[in-house]
């Protein structure tokens, strides 16, 4: 990754977020990035507070209803330090689908008539067959896609359980694809369940084994999101404000621990075990 790159993060909100990779981007102190993610959560907040991003592209940003509207987003966007470019959720998905299909745009029936058309400069086209008006949703080809998956083999064939989100389209759309995986499996295991493979290895540039690589966000069937951690984080922001609380958070969780294992030690094994048990209970069929 280079400064100024357009980066897209897989998963959605606090699920399957490539947080181990985001943490490394922050440790390398990249700047001038554009970060795209359909629903943006704490990874976007940390990128803003670290000065890594100048622009975010998203359909929605905050952690979730119980934690209210993101104060970090409000601070950086209302002060003009970070631009927030908003697209509808479907339009966002179609941008990656179009890029993944190798076409410059896809016709769609969404966003029409709304002020979201103007934000991203979406144009309309006339259907050459019927004359009907359609939105021409432009393809988005990011420089780098950061993804976190359940399983992959050493060739980069990636398997995902549960929600597919937009990862498969993002991997096709991006120039460079960097993947972390919960588990490294053998080539034979991939071949036994090829139906579970959503990203073929020839799309992937780098693969890293990173168990708990989305924590404190969740991974389907593996571990639940750490809502207590979100509550502590937002309570500190409420108490001490932006950027003080987030700057300290970055020092403690991003720049402090030398390795990802040391980072996980900040939470402790018991907490991680609880998160695993909660996930197993919620996905009994897995």
């Amino acid at each position: 990754m280079k400064d100024g790159d357009h980066v897209v993060a897989g998963g959605c909100l606090f699920t399957r977020t490539p947080l181990a990779l985001v943490r490394e981007v922050l440790r390398q102190r990249r700047t001038g990035l554009t970060l795209s993610r359909n629903l943006m959560c704490t990874e976007g907040e940390l990128m803003m507070a670290a000065g890594a991003v100048q622009r975010v592209v998203t359909a929605w940003m905050s952690i979730g209803l119980p934690w209210g509207v993101s104060k970090v987003m409000r601070h950086y966007v209302e002060s003009g330090q970070v631009a927030l470019e908003e697209w509808s959720h479907l339009a966002f998905g179609l941008r990656f689908r179009a890029a993944g299909m190798g076409v410059p745009f896809l016709p769609a029936l969404t966003m029409l008539g709304s002020d979201l058309m103007g934000v991203g400069g979406t144009k309309t086209i006339q259907d050459p067959y019927t004359g009907e008006t359609l939105a021409a949703v432009p393809a988005l080809f990011p420089d780098v896609a950061l993804l976190h998956v359940h399983r992959a083999d050493r060739f980069g064939n990636c398997q995902i359980d549960g929600y597919p989100h937009m990862d498969a389209d993002m991997a096709r759309a991006a120039t460079t694809v960097i993947v972390t995986t919960e588990e490294l499996i053998t080539e034979d295991e991939v071949r036994r369940r090829p139906d579970r493979t959503v990203v073929p290895g020839f799309l992937v540039d780098a693969l890293v084994l990173a168990p708990f690589g989305a924590y404190p966000h969740e991974v389907w069937g593996r571990y639940h999101a750490d809502f207590e951690h979100f509550a502590e984080y937002t309570a500190d922001i409420d108490a001490r404000g932006v950027p003080a609380a987030v700057t300290d958070y970055l020092a403690r969780y991003v720049h402090g621990p030398a390795t990802f294992e040391e980072y996980l030690d900040l939470f402790g094994g018991e907490r991680l075990k609880r998160a695993q048990d909660a996930a197993r209970e919620l996905t009994p069929g897995l």
């Binding site: 959605c12 998203t58 409000r74 927030l84 509808s88 959720h89 029936l109 709304s114 069937g221 919620l282």
Partner: protein
């Protein structure tokens, strides 16, 4: 029965709008609770659809999802098609209802969940954004909005049209290229608003028990018309409230 909270009233009144053997695109919080309640009463074959990419989930009492794309939202779901494909079911016309909340709403039922202030790039207040709301409002066959009835929410013109209602009047959706749909009702904590079929402006269609037409007008930032007859809704029944409260025993969304 104990006092009914505003969120309980919205959930009950909202749930009654949903017919059996239909599909509903529901946002998390009160809309999802209302849809789950409808499934337990008049609409057992109602299929819920959630934007995280979920078809046909059930709601486990006490385990209400906080977001549309976490594990809990997919409890006993029938299909997880991915986000883009879930919305494309709506674009194809398969979603009967869109069921959503609203931050700021205007006389044509347009909704703003993006920015307060006239300049999008220099907002006075930055709100979370559309999420799937624009797509639901654009692509479902009928949109029902559930919201608290407050003057600051009901403004003559929204600062920013995040989700299209009737835009600026009759025919505007079609001119913009939207093929079907539109807001049919706004269920509030005071009553039910519909739209005048010729002007497409909000008007009063019913009051909830104890609320008045005048109260609805006083809490709206623009002139509200009135249907030829204004009905009075039936108060929430013990059965509705018991089922609803069992879904959210921690009162995460019911207040």
């Amino acid at each position: 029965m104990a006092t009914v909270t505003p969120s309980e009233l919205l959930a009950v009144m909202g749930s009654r709008q949903l017919k059996d053997d239909t599909t509903v695109f529901a946002g998390v919080g009160v809309p999802l609770l209302a849809a789950a309640l409808a499934r337990q009463r008049q609409a057992p074959r109602l299929t819920m659809v959630i934007e995280g990419g979920i078809i046909g989930p059930q709601i486990k009492p006490g385990r209400l999802p906080i977001s549309t794309n976490e594990m809990r939202a997919a409890h006993r779901a029938q299909m997880l098609p991915g986000i883009t494909d879930t919305f494309l079911f709506a674009q194809r016309g398969f979603l009967d209802y869109g069921f959503m909340g609203g931050a700021q709403i205007d006389m044509y039922g347009n909704i703003n969940t993006s920015v307060v202030g006239r300049d999008y790039w220099k907002p006075k207040v930055r709100l979370p954004g559309t999420g799937g709301a624009n797509d639901i409002a654009s692509l479902c066959r009928e949109v029902i909005i559930l919201t608290a009835h407050e003057k600051r929410r009901f403004v003559p013109r929204v600062d920013f049209v995040t989700s299209p209602g009737w835009l600026d009047g009759d025919g505007a959706r079609r001119r913009a290229g939207l093929l079907f749909g539109g807001v049919s009702r706004v269920v509030t904590t005071l009553g039910i608003l519909g739209f005048d079929p010729t002007t497409r402006r909000l008007r009063i269609e019913a009051t909830h028990p104890g609320a008045t037409v005048q109260q609805m007008r006083d809490n709206t930032g623009f002139e509200l018309g009135e249907a030829a007859t204004v009905a009075v809704t039936e108060p929430p029944t013990d059965d509705e409230l018991t089922l609803l409260r069992a879904l959210d025993p921690e009162r995460r969304f019911l207040g």
